[in-house]
């Protein structure tokens, strides 16, 4: 069972990595904002599977912290992207 959970953890991580390679390239900020979202969820899933495989119970607390802080980071991202686009509009450089 442990090996199966480890393999699943590795698979989820691989999927996240491929997805990251796509969205970090852009083209827009919105795609990049998804990076935090994607890694938040995928990272939590990989972490939980890893914790179950190794029998480390405290990993669930790490995942809980990650869930809260990844949400916070995503929202900070959107706010920052908005600030930037408002500045561009103000200086007449909006694309």
């Amino acid at each position: 069972m442990a090996d199966f959970l480890l393999a699943a953890s590795g698979f989820v991580l691989l999927m996240v990595a491929v997805g990251l390679a796509r969205i970090l390239r852009g083209p827009g900020d919105a795609d990049r904002m998804m990076a935090a979202q994607l890694l938040g969820t995928g990272g939590i899933a990989a972490l939980l599977l890893l914790g179950a495989a190794t029998g480390e119970d405290a990993v669930v607390d790490v995942a809980l912290t990650l869930a809260l802080l990844a949400a916070f980071a995503s929202i900070a991202f959107v706010k920052a992207a908005r600030t930037a686009s408002r500045d561009e509009a103000a200086t007449g450089n909006e694309k």
Partner: protein, 313 residues
């Protein structure tokens, strides 16, 4: 299986670090850095450092990411200018040479580390019973190396004083950072009302679990700080003016309690920061309870930044 997973994790970390450095756009670089911080959390779990993983999850990805992305938003107009300053090929080659040399030297050190490795783990195991706490990291942070933790709290206060001292004269004493405006009935305001109660419970739980399981005041305080910042970002509240007396008292209360208990130890137990026999655990809890609000305030306000809004006198 485990080896393959670890190797993949290490490769992914390296790829994201390289992306953070070579990405053309600062926004993309910071997006990569946040992903990097989240992955580092997994690496800490693999290295049996669950306490460190908790800290990294809270600070590395969350708070540092929000801090940097906020700065990117405000510095967007400077990026094109900086691109022109890109150093010449010769400078880049020299930089690569220096970085490569440092890497090789460090790698040689890593490969010649002594075996068996020196460790303090048996000493911690032998003395942990005297502290009454079950988590060895908490025992190190608040009993064996309490001086480090005290100085760290003072460093944080100094860092905040440093940030505040960048305020222009016209804004001194006023509210720090920018005023966030958002639709009070919008989705951002909604999440800022729903998430903080959950976050406060989780933060207190992580703090309380720290006595016997991974967790503790830093991680708990970071979660509380993030929740407060979320409410600020949604425009539901504003940062307090830095001249408020309650704020300034709150910022020094934690370190002062710590120092007072340390001095009391000098009288009753014979050394600064020593705990009398049998009182170690209650004293550790008092110190942690006093430090946590201070840490939450400082971490949040460090992220908010210097006062910059002109105050009407």
């Amino acid at each position: 299986m485990m080896e393959a997973l670890n190797a993949g994790l290490a490769l992914l970390l390296l790829a994201l670090a390289v992306w953070t450095i070579v990405a053309r756009d600062a926004f993309a670089a910071v997006a990569g850095f946040i992903a990097y911080g989240l992955l580092l959390t997994l690496a800490w779990v693999q290295l049996s450092g669950v306490d460190v993983a908790l800290t990294e999850a809270a600070i590395g990805g969350g708070l540092t990411g929000a801090l940097l992305i906020g700065a990117v938003g405000r510095l967007r107009d400077t990026e094109a200018t900086a691109r022109v300053e890109r150093p010449k090929a010769l400078t880049r080659a020299l930089a690569a040479l220096v970085a490569g040399a440092v890497t090789v030297a460090l790698a040689l050190c890593v490969l010649t580390l002594p075996d068996p490795a020196p460790t303090l783990a048996p000493d911690v195991a032998a003395n942990i019973a005297a502290t009454g706490v079950g988590n060895p990291i908490t025992a190190v942070l608040l009993a064996f190396r309490a001086m480090d933790t005290l100085l760290e709290a003072i460093v944080l206060v100094f860092a905040l004083i440093g940030v505040w001292s960048l305020a222009p004269d016209r804004a001194w004493g006023g509210r720090p950072g920018v005023r966030h405006v958002a639709d009070p009935n919008g989705i951002l305001a909604y999440i800022a009302r729903v998430l903080p109660p959950i976050g406060i419970i989780v933060g207190m739980y992580i703090f309380w679990a720290g006595a016997d399981h991974p967790g503790g005041k830093f991680q708990g305080a970071t979660i509380l700080a993030a929740m407060w910042l979320l409410v600020m970002m949604a425009g539901l509240t504003d940062a307090p003016p830095i001249s408020r007396a309650w704020l300034r008292i709150g910022l020094v209360a934690g370190p002062l309690v710590f120092i007072a208990i340390g001095l009391a130890g000098a009288v009753t137990a014979g050394a600064f920061l020593a705990y009398p026999d049998g009182y170690a655990k209650p004293l550790i809890i008092v110190i942690e309870l006093a430090l946590m609000p201070t840490l939450a305030l400082i971490l949040a306000l460090l992220l908010v930044g210097a006062p910059q809004r002109t105050i009407q006198r």
